[in-house]
Amino acid sequence: MADTDILETQTAAASSVAGIDQSVGDFKYDVKYDFDAGTGLSERTIRYISDVKKEAPWIREFRLNALKTFLAKPLPTHWATRDLENLNFDKIRYYLSQGTKPKRTWDEVPADIKKTFERLGIPEQERKFLAGVEAQFDSEAAYSNIKEVVSKQGVIFVNSSEALRTHPEIFRKWFGKVIPTGDNKFSALNSAVFSGGSFIYVPPGVKVAHPLQAYFRINAENFGQFERTLIIVDEGSELTYMEGCTAPKFSTSTLHSAVVELVALKGAKIQYITVQNWAPNVYNLVTKRGLAHEEAEIKWIDCNIGSRLTMKYPGVVLKGRKSRGEVLSIALANDGQHQDTGAKMVHAADETTSSIVAKSISVGQGRSTYRGLVHIPRRLKGCKNNTECDALLINTNSRTDTYPAITVRGQQHAVQHEASVSKVSEEMIFYMQSRGLTEAQAMSLAVNGFVNDLVRQFPMEYSVELKRLIDLEMESSVG
């Protein structure tokens, strides 16, 4: 196997000298890739990926059509930041792997990759509280396992290629249906080059007691990670899914562009939790949407920390009567970062309910933007939406924008929108410092207090993790 010496990036080394672990994910091991689609994007890239994965012809066609859509669509800079123009699609590597078959035990995972996940604490978390884990390293899952009790219930938890090969009868029906290829430029890109991600099916009447987790790790420079996730929870079933993401800090930019589709059938409940901690060079452009059937419930918990630019608006299409959609979103934009996040709620049936609570924190030059879309058409009755977006500013240079778009037609709906902007004042920091807390500890406490009412709704392990990430971000912002 390849050289397993650890390659700390310069920043990590410098900060550990200062006694501050700025970013837990900021390390990399040198890995030799057996499969490499090279640099740049063309039909050849697509054919290479499809060949490595030995895909069915319909998937290859799907990819090639998506490439055309991607190339035809302009960047959305008429509403989004022009920083997107700094992405150079010709300099990105679209597929890197050591093979397409994930290992079922950690012992079989190649040492260099295993070390990465051990350092991130994944095997330990799996033992403690998870029903199953998939650990993706660049383009493919290196490890994937589901606890026997869960698989015996009929739950399927595999990566995208395997799912489409072994269970097309379940997954093909919904694949690309919640988020069509042409939804936006980046969903088209993902549809062309997708690799890895989780495909999950929970049969009717099964309540999965513990969460399933996926961990997405970018290790290579100039790389694009394009995982594809499709979760189908059948009638009356329940699932909690959690994802975490990290990457080392490179001088060049990295692209992460995922598509996540959720389908909650009648009376099903899905809770999808993301805690990302991307390095500050990552463009994180992700499309996430769920389809809620009658009396189903979809809840997105979305915590965005790190990255250079995140654009992500998890949505729920409330297709069935009495279905419910919820987004809890936390975004922290530190110096040089832009968190452009929000939520979409499309009401398409009577008596549907949606709720959005978004909290953003802007530090220093950091910029946060909230975009919300709530759509209730005229023909419906008895729909409800509650939107709350709160922004916290730390230091005077930070910027926050709110773009709520709420379209409500008809008379029989209840809609509520609240927004607030508050500041961590110098006086508040001084107050806390006068109790013995350092400036960084004081800021961290203020931020944790600001998000506290949301974090209390998270599973314990994730709220602890989030608090730790906020502490680290505040340490680095004080310097």
Binding site: S422, E426, F430, M432, S434, G436, L437, T438, A442, G449
Partner: protein
């Protein structure tokens, strides 16, 4: 014995000198009251000692047990044993009093040691019982939506928990009705165990009926113009600050 020594202290806000040559020594266990009309530099003195960034010390020194505080950040001063009870304490939404005090104590231990949670809550409940504070109080967010009296009680609870060597109490009586004032004063008196030195800043004599000082200093236009025992406060009460101003003009 611990002492806090203020030596020829000059403090400016922007370009404006506010405190002009104040010298004062507070020993462990002593209560010093600083009185004076509004705008005379009393609060500025307290905040400058605590290290507020808006106040510039242009001359002089402040020594805690012989060690100068001036080069220290406000949090280092606090960890060295100084406590400022605020006239207007800040609100910290979402952070419970229990978690706030715990974080402040943890900050004194550094990263290597973890505060013992059981011991912490035991001490917290002891102090709350001592100060007659309801158990539910500490699960509320720090000062968030508190009445004037609750804010001051929260300050006194922090003072009790953080065990400083010296407490600077800035207008602790402001905004309190007589009942709240009595409760807060009772709390301070319970903490007067001979270990704690207190600099008590007040505009009104009435607080000194409840917290009886060992020394009284009168500040006027940035200077301490009179020092004496508690009878000075009574004299001031009887004759008013106008009397003092007249005396100073004639002096």
């Amino acid at each position: 014995m611990s002492q806090l020594v203020i030596q020829d202290l000059h403090v400016s806000i922007g370009d404006k000198p506010v405190v002009k040559s104040v010298s004062l020594t507070i020993k462990q266990g002593e209560v010093h009251a600083v009185m004076g009309p509004n705008g005379t530099g009393k609060s500025t003195l307290a905040k400058a000692i605590a290290g507020h960034p808006d106040y510039t010390i242009t001359q002089g020194d402040v020594l805690l047990d012989g060690r100068s505080l001036l080069a220290m950040e406000p949090d280092e001063r606090a960890r060295a044993g100084l406590f400022l009870a605020f006239q207007y304490p800040s609100e910290i939404p979402g952070v419970s009093i229990a978690n706030f005090i715990r974080a402040a104590l943890q900050a004194r231990l550094g990263e290597s040691a973890e505060l013992d949670a059981t011991g912490y809550y035991k001490k917290l409940y002891e102090k709350m019982d001592l100060l007659k504070i309801d158990r539910k109080f500490t699960s509320r967010s720090v000062n968030d939506g508190f009445s004037g009296g609750e804010k001051k009680r929260c300050e006194i609870l922090q003072l009790a928990m953080l065990d400083p060597k010296f407490a600077l109490m800035d207008e602790t009586d402001s905004g309190l009705d007589i009942d709240a004032l009595r409760v807060v004063a009772d709390g301070v008196n319970k903490l007067r165990t001979g270990q704690l030195g207190i600099l008590l800043i007040t505009h009104y004599q009435r607080l000194l009926n409840y917290i009886v000082p060992d020394f009284v200093h009168v500040m006027h236009e940035g200077h301490i113009v009179r020092s004496g025992d508690k009878s000075l406060a009574l004299e001031l009460e009887a004759k008013g600050y106008a009397w003092l101003k007249k005396e100073l003009v004639h002096a």
